[in-house]
């Protein structure tokens, strides 16, 4: 009985941490699938969202839930600007190296911008007015903020999935990802699709980012870990597949949770990365890729 509860607890932990990871990775998977470009600044954009959530709380006393729409708009705008002025031109130049490096440049820039503006302090939202507390259900402990964030993440993921599959724009995006030239022949403005994808992809980060400071802390360096986890998830789940990404995110969460307990907490991220390297050795296209 004890073991069963422990296992359930670890599963719950994994889900609670994996769903937000999945949400973070969704944007990346779209960008990657459609534009074939890795957004190395993904983690840093997330941190922008996190700072938005934190500062609206710290300066205005407003709950992140309220600043959610602001964050989404802000990040969407940021995504659009980044695409228009940095990415679009690099895509045209067809220089692989530049495509990789330009987002890295954005990432280094953002990280140091945070350092300059906000200093290296770690910050978190300590007394969130609306979402707080802990639950114990049948011997399983969980914190309400984590639960809320996971539910919201799940919701957004499903919305994105529906958007991609059911709407015309969504299908156009898929078309662009699958075969750019044919999509163009069919009259789809691929540049606009790129721009839209990037905007939406970064916008998703607004949701995840603004809520995260409730459960964890934000610093200029937070982007790295989330970013690398996101890459891992996308590569595992396959590029462009939203549901695939979701499962991959959950899987990563579970690996982190079980690996951390069974092996050693210091190695919990290590387990994730080793798993990643193993899977890539076997199936480079990821588990569910397009």
């Amino acid at each position: 009985m004890e073991t069963a509860i422990l296992i359930l607890q670890l599963i719950v932990d994994g889900l609670l941490v994996g769903l937000p990871y999945a949400l973070i990775a969704i944007g990346l998977t779209l960008i990657w699938g459609v534009m074939d470009i890795i957004n190395f600044a993904h983690g840093e954009f997330l941190v922008v969202g996190m700072y938005v959530g934190y500062w609206t709380y710290a300066l205005l006393g407003v709950s992140p839930v309220l600043s959610l729409p602001v964050a989404i708009l802000l990040l969407g705008a940021l995504g659009w600007v980044t695409y228009r002025y940095a990415i679009a031109r690099v895509l045209k130049s067809e220089n692989l190296l530049s495509q990789i490096v330009v987002t890295f440049g954005v990432s280094v820039f953002l990280q140091n911008l945070f350092l300059f503006l906000f200093s290296g302090d770690y910050r978190s939202i300590s007394q969130e007015p609306w979402i707080k507390g802990d639950l114990m259900i049948q011997g399983i402990f969980l914190s309400i903020p984590e639960l809320v964030i996971s539910m919201i993440s799940l919701l957004i993921i499903l919305l994105m999935h529906l958007f991609i599959r059911r709407t015309n724009t969504g299908k156009a995006i898929v078309a662009t990802a699958l075969d750019r030239e044919t999509a163009q022949l069919m009259g789809i403005d691929t540049d606009r699709m790129n721009s839209l994808t990037f905007t939406i992809g970064i916008g998703c980060l607004g949701v995840a980012g603004v809520l995260l400071p409730i459960t964890t802390h934000v610093s200029p360096y937070s982007g790295f870990l989330f970013g690398v986890l996101a890459f891992t998830i996308v590569a595992l789940g396959g590029f462009g597949s939203i549901i695939g990404t979701m499962f991959a995110g959950i899987m990563v969460g579970l690996v982190q949770s079980f690996g951390g307990f069974l092996v050693a907490p210091a190695y919990k991220y290590l387990c994730v990365f080793i798993l990643y390297l193993l899977i890539l050795g076997i199936r480079p296209r990821g588990l569910f890729g397009w």
């Binding site: 932990d13 200093s119 949770s257 307990f261 050693a264 210091a266």
Partner: protein, 428 residues
């Protein structure tokens, strides 16, 4: 045309770089003794670096001006009396928390700025390289921080450390625990530790293991964790499963906060909860509110502990900076004073003379704001014995009571009564 413009730009850039590097403002004032200080003024630990700087600046102000109400050395006079009232000037360098940069910056301070001594450093890794360079150039280096035990085990002749190293920190925890066991007639045999896995935490862990072995405790869980991890659920679950009586948590600010929150979620309450480092940060209590009550910290310092000179300096600091003196401020505070006192006693700014004077330093209890009987250094010895370790360094045990830090041990310094055992989450 476009490419020619570009090459002009590039050429101009290179030219600018070389020209500017020639220009270096270097004017000297009379009667100023330059001391170099390397601190992390940028990068992750920049806030702490800034606090360190405040401490050093305050000390220099006390040295350079009259403060008759303080019993610290050189407070009574303006500047150094034996050197004609010469004043101390600190030249700061940013080591970015990176040992490579620390090395380069200390070298620059010594070779270019021609400082006669070095103070400071916060990260142990930076102090390691900084002091090695200082040793190479036969320049005294006094650090108030740097808890890694290794620092004084290198047999260096020019490096001096004021801080009680983590061996002493650990010893204080266990002395205190042993005291409580005797007083209450109970045994708290099972201990556990969660430590961040970079240098600071792992050195602490080694000392912990040594104490555990020597005193016959049993370590039921030893959990290293990734520094500034975003989630510590696995860690807490492992600890809870081990069910220790006394639990040590060693980590920086974000770890302390996260552990506190997670331990609440999982309703894990050890009988004794010892915290270190992150718990002393000014951010900790505001972030966790009442959740931090009851935590015991082996502290190097407390602004209100019952030593007269400490309380007075604490007031001075509070008046100037509008907040209570914190540990990073205090640690490096004494460093310029110790060096200036040595320079004054030697009556010379010759580095050898300063070094010799430092070896003979003997500050009494009232001449230091730190807890303990004063400051004096062990002689240079072969490793693994400690060289130039401050033998007067003593720890305090501090408890968070009602969202404030209070000293509860040793008896003579205490500011409040101990709360025991650690309160349950529902009570907080």
């Amino acid at each position: 045309m476009r490419s020619r413009w570009k090459s002009v730009l590039v050429g101009g850039l290179i030219g600018l770089v070389s020209v500017v590097s020639f220009v270096s403002p270097g004017w000297s004032q009379e009667k100023v003794i330059k001391i170099g200080a390397h601190l992390p003024l940028s990068g992750g630990t920049a806030p702490t670096g800034a606090l360190n700087r405040e401490g050093i600046d305050l000390a220099v102000d006390i040295i350079n001006n009259r403060h008759p109400e303080l019993t610290l050395p050189l407070a009574q006079s303006e500047g150094l009396p034996n050197l004609g009232g010469a004043k101390i000037k600190i030249v700061y360098a940013d080591d970015r928390g990176d040992p490579n940069v620390a090395m380069a910056e200390v070298e620059r301070l010594i070779q270019e700025e021609k400082v006669v001594a070095i103070v400071g450093g916060w990260e142990s890794s930076c102090i390691k390289t900084g002091s090695q360079v200082a040793e190479k150039f036969k320049t005294p280096h006094v650090s108030g921080a740097g808890s890694s035990v290794d620092l004084t085990k290198r047999g260096l002749s020019y490096y001096f450390r004021l801080l009680a190293h983590s061996g002493k920190v650990n010893k204080a925890y266990f002395d205190f625990l042993g005291d409580m066991e005797k007083k209450l007639g109970k045994k708290y045999g099972n201990v556990a530790i969660a430590y961040e896995n970079t240098e600071y935490g792992s050195v602490f862990n080694e000392q912990y293991e040594r104490e555990v072995k020597e005193r016959g405790y049993k370590s039921v869980a030893s959990v290293p964790f990734y520094k500034a991890a975003t989630s510590v659920t696995s860690e807490v679950q492992k600890l809870k499963a081990a069910n220790p009586d006394a639990f040590f948590q060693i980590g920086y600010d974000p770890d302390a906060i996260l552990f506190t929150k997670t331990m609440r979620t999982f309703n894990f309450t050890p009988t004794v909860w010892f915290g270190m480092a992150g718990y002393t940060s000014p951010k900790y209590i505001p972030s966790v509110g009442n959740d931090g009550n009851g935590i015991l910290i082996s502290g190097w310092f407390h602004p209100r502990f019952k030593k007269p000179v400490t309380m007075k300096v604490g007031e001075l600091y509070a008046k100037r900076y509008g907040k209570e003196m914190s540990i990073p401020v205090a640690l490096n505070f004494m460093t310029p004073i110790v060096i200036a006192e040595a320079i004054n006693r030697a009556g010379s700014t010759d580095k050898e003379a300063i070094r010799n004077a430092l070896e003979k330093t003997r500050l009494t209890e009232d001449q230091s704001i730190m807890p303990g009987p004063g400051i004096w250094f062990s002689p240079v010895q072969n490793p693994p014995a400690h060289s130039h370790d401050n033998e007067g360094a003593t720890m305090l045990v501090i408890q968070i009571i009602d969202k404030k830090f209070e000293v509860v041990w040793p008896e003579k310094y205490k500011t409040a009564e101990l709360i025991w055992p650690h309160p349950k989450w529902s009570e907080k």
